[in-house]
């Protein structure tokens, strides 16, 4: 064995990883070669010094500061990100599937109950209705967007889910009493006031509006503005071309949706304002009473906190490692439950404090007043045309009247000033005539 080979093997020899035969050959070389022996001794010495280097204790604030960062990391996931609505929506949906699931379940139960009773659809604490249909054909216009144009961006999964519940509801109501379908605005408001009257009830309010509008971008920004003005925010929105006009891109028609959240007390006003922006093709509001679930969850949290306290007391007395691990495991389970339930309560608070309004906007060409998506509904178009013509006639008559009315003072002034002038002129010419004679 030569020195180069030896140098390559010293490291493994130090760690005792060589087989017996190689080890013996190495030892033999060390006896013969002082240089390699010295290298070996030095390397071994360094290794020993390394392993003797002290182990540092964690800085005193290590765990506290790490805990803060970890908590922040979990919060980041739950944070409401208005800017990037798509990512938020995924998280939101994932976090809230339970809430939505229970909402859907409550709706189904409601529908069954209402179809059985076939009368009182609103039982004082839970309700859901559909209002102001212009045409039965348009009922599903909101949930099934016009297929002509490919979606450029999709981001309303949560909304679709809620619509699913609505669709089911509509179907059952169609089987039942059709006159129930049409409700007037005043009724809605009364019902909400009735809800609020019951003190401390936890009701999640949601509204749905489908609108046909002209000038999509303008209406869209109006909605965002009113939302902001009323202390709300746009949770999620998406816009796409339903019909792209390649020759004249400015005439392309857009379609889109918004999910906005507004303070609960601003709900009715904001909803009305949005309705005034265009032609309402479908609208509904719903209120889900979660008071019972809410209270039982709050109670459960209290119980768990008591349990946690006693576990911590046990922990302090525990002596064996096995016991400590056991208690720690139980503690972490209890903590986890508390966290999960507190999360539910927080989410409910958020849903109750901030009502949700789902808006779909469907842009109409302002020139020919064509109504999408039911192009073949001639009667409706004729009706529209008739109304338009009548309106135009009224407008014309109004304009004529206004013209006349507005020029009236001028005529009056001229008339009043004209009488003495004419008399004077008449007399003047008469006098002149007399002079000439």
């Amino acid at each position: 064995m030569n020195c180069t080979e030896t140098m390559e093997l010293i490291s493994l020899y130090i760690d005792g990883l060589l087989d017996e035969h190689t080890e013996q050959m190495l030892q033999k070389h060390f006896k013969e070669c002082a240089e390699c022996r010295q290298d070996y001794e030095e390397l071994l010495n360094i290794k020993n010094m390394c392993s003797e280097l002290p182990m540092l204790e964690l800085p005193p604030d290590f765990e506290v500061s790490l805990h803060e960062k970890l908590v922040r990391a979990t919060e980041n996931v739950q944070v409401i990100d208005i800017g990037r609505s798509e990512t938020f929506n995924k998280k939101f949906k994932w976090k809230n599937w339970k809430v939505y699931g229970s909402m859907a379940a409550v709706f189904i139960v409601l529908i069954l109950a209402s179809s059985l009773l076939n009368e009182a659809r609103f039982n004082g604490s839970q309700m859901k209705e559909n209002v102001g249909m212009e045409s039965p054909n348009m009922e599903f216009a909101g949930s099934a967007p016009a297929p002509e144009a490919p979606k450029m961006k999709v981001g309303t999964a949560a909304r679709d889910e809620s619509y699913g519940a609505e669709e089911r509801l509509q179907t059952t109501q169609d089987n039942g009493s059709p006159e129930n379908r049409v409700m007037d605005q005043n009724n809605q408001t009364t019902q909400f006031t009735a809800l609020e009257a019951e003190s401390d009830r936890k009701v999640i309010k949601s509204g749905y509006v489908d609108l046909n509008v002209e000038e999509y971008d303008d209406k869209f920004s109006q909605i965002t503005r009113i939302t902001a003005e009323r202390g709300g925010f746009v949770e999620n929105s998406n816009t796409y071309y339903k019909q792209y006009n390649e020759v004249n891109p400015e005439e392309s028609l857009k379609q889109g949706s918004l999910v906005i959240r507004v303070p609960e007390n601003q709900f009715a006003e904001v909803l009305d304002h949005i309705k005034s922006l265009g032609t309402v093709t479908n609208t509904s509001i719903s209120g889900q009473d979660i008071t019972k679930e809410y209270r039982s969850t709050v109670d459960e949290i209290e119980n768990l906190k008591v349990q946690e306290k006693s576990l911590r007391a046990i922990m302090e007395k525990a002596t064996s490692v096995k016991d400590i691990l056991e208690v720690e495991r139980e503690l972490s389970r209890v903590r986890g439950e508390i966290n999960r339930m507190s999360g539910d309560v927080k989410r409910w608070d958020d849903l109750v404090d901030l009502s949700t309004i789902h808006v779909t906007l469907n842009e109409m060409s302002s020139k020919d007043k064509e109504i999408y998506p039911i192009r073949d509904n001639v009667w409706l178009r004729a009706q529209k045309g008739f109304i338009k013509t009548v309106n135009e006639m009224i407008q014309f008559a109004e304009n004529v009247f206004i013209r006349i009315a507005s020029t009236l003072p001028v005529i009056l002034v001229l008339f009043i000033m004209g009488i003495p002038l004419t008399i004077y002129l008449y007399r003047w010419t008469k006098r002149k005539k007399n002079k000439q004679e």
Partner: protein
Amino acid sequence: MEEFEIELIEKSKRGDVESFEILIRSHQTLAYNIAFRMLGNVEDANDATQEALVKVFKSIQSFHGQSSFSTWLYRIVTNTCLDELRKRKRQQVYSYHNPMEMEDGQIDRDVVDPSSSTEEILEKKEEIKNIQDAIQALPEQHRIVIVLRDIKGLSYEQISEILDCPQGTIKSRISRARLALKEIITNRELYQKPYV
């Protein structure tokens, strides 16, 4: 993997901070010490360890037990340290000749036998300082294996898993790193002798 550990991992995946803290409790001191030996000062070691542990927490969803949890954790810690060293290199703020920081007198308590004389204590302190400086002077790929193998005493198998390298590569890398470290120490001694 232990059942207890599996349960904690599952809870951590669901975002339970407390479970995660129990899970890493037995690893964080070693993680911190690896970072300290890699980066050379307590502040950077603290920052890097915390950064790495938060990374572990955030990416625990992607941990499916391919390796042991500790191996996976130490891999993230070493990678974070290597990233930090790369960052330093780019910023050109670090000098190999910067003297190594001493950690608030802890050495005296931890290492030095109370029966040893003052002279011995001083000698020991000098020796520790020398070896720490020498380790800091090693290129990072050598430094990491010295830290894991010679300072922290991990096995070749563990190191090859943490660094995600075949064991053969690790063997030759450790061998080269040790020779390089010896070289640095010998050169310093030669350089320092005239002044002693």
